[in-house]
Symmetry: C2
Subunit: 172 residues, 2 copies
């Protein structure tokens, strides 16, 4: 689509509403979960996610950057959170022999316990709010959609600026 395409200037109402509601729902979901988690278990959703990824991974440990990729935040944010979790004793840093600059973040016993304690609360929330609305077919469909979106993002990330179809790329 070209820059001067009047018709495509704005989204058609129905499509526009899907996008808008998508944004609203995702924000609301995040807020809701975050709030509940903080009130009832004293950790943030991002912290929960970190613990979860650690628990799910082999050796219950992960590298900082893998963690950053996994929860989709800046590396510095991960450093910040790992510092906090480390102070809380839920996580511990260990050097990795192979790569001397790499750091392995391990889930501690306390961390594991805290995760197991918080999980039911969050999982029931996710089920009630998110999953119960989805039939199996829809789940498969949604999964496919997510895959495509993810691929699209990959493509854009691989080719950050010079992508066909968006005006203003090098204009000022």
């Amino acid at each position: 689509m070209s820059a001067g395409d009047f018709e495509s200037r704005w989204l058609s109402p129905d499509v526009n509403s899907v996008w808008t509601r998508f944004l609203q729902v995702t924000h609301r979901l995040e807020h809701h979960i975050d709030r509940r988690l903080q009130e009832q278990h004293g950790i943030t959703h991002t912290q929960y996610e970190i613990l979860l990824r650690l628990a799910d991974s082999d050796e219950r440990a992960m590298r900082m950057s893998d963690l950053a990729d996994s929860i989709v935040t800046a590396k510095s944010a991960v450093t910040y959170q790992i510092n906090k979790l480390s102070e809380m004793g839920l996580v511990s840093r260990k050097k990795c022999g192979r790569d001397n600059r790499g750091i392995w973040v391990h889930l501690t016993e306390d961390g594991s316990a805290r995760l197991e304690q918080a999980a039911p609360c969050i999982l029931s929330l996710v089920r009630e709010l998110f999953l119960d609305a989805i039939s199996c077919d829809q789940a498969a469909e949604l999964d496919k959609l997510l895959g495509t979106w993810s691929d699209n993002l990959d493509a854009h990330d691989r080719n950050p600026v010079a992508y066909p179809g968006h005006p203003g790329a090098e204009a000022a």
Copy 2:
């Protein structure tokens, strides 16, 4: 879905992956759009959203709290952003005669221009990343899903703590 999982502590792998990828994709989408918008048009995604909602509304004006609801953030965040946008001259505050504590935020000419200038960039992004992946049927399906999720959230908001099925919620 997953009626039989009612008691299980963790989500079944497939369902779990849907949820995880959902979180990842939404985060990546936000980041991507935000970054592009800042690089090329000097405004945040939230700021863009505010301008957009204003442009879409009758009179090109909105109350602060409606704005807050609309973009799903805390009122204080809206105040912050409106201050910024106001400094930029994209928006202006006006008293509302009817309700003396209410404030109407108006889109200025500059604001309108800035929005029109930024819109193609973002819309093409939304299309490429998000919409092009969806067929009409899928769009309808997704819309329905969003509706259900939204309703679920409404229900939870209406009845914040005492909701069946999540442990640790001893009502007052």
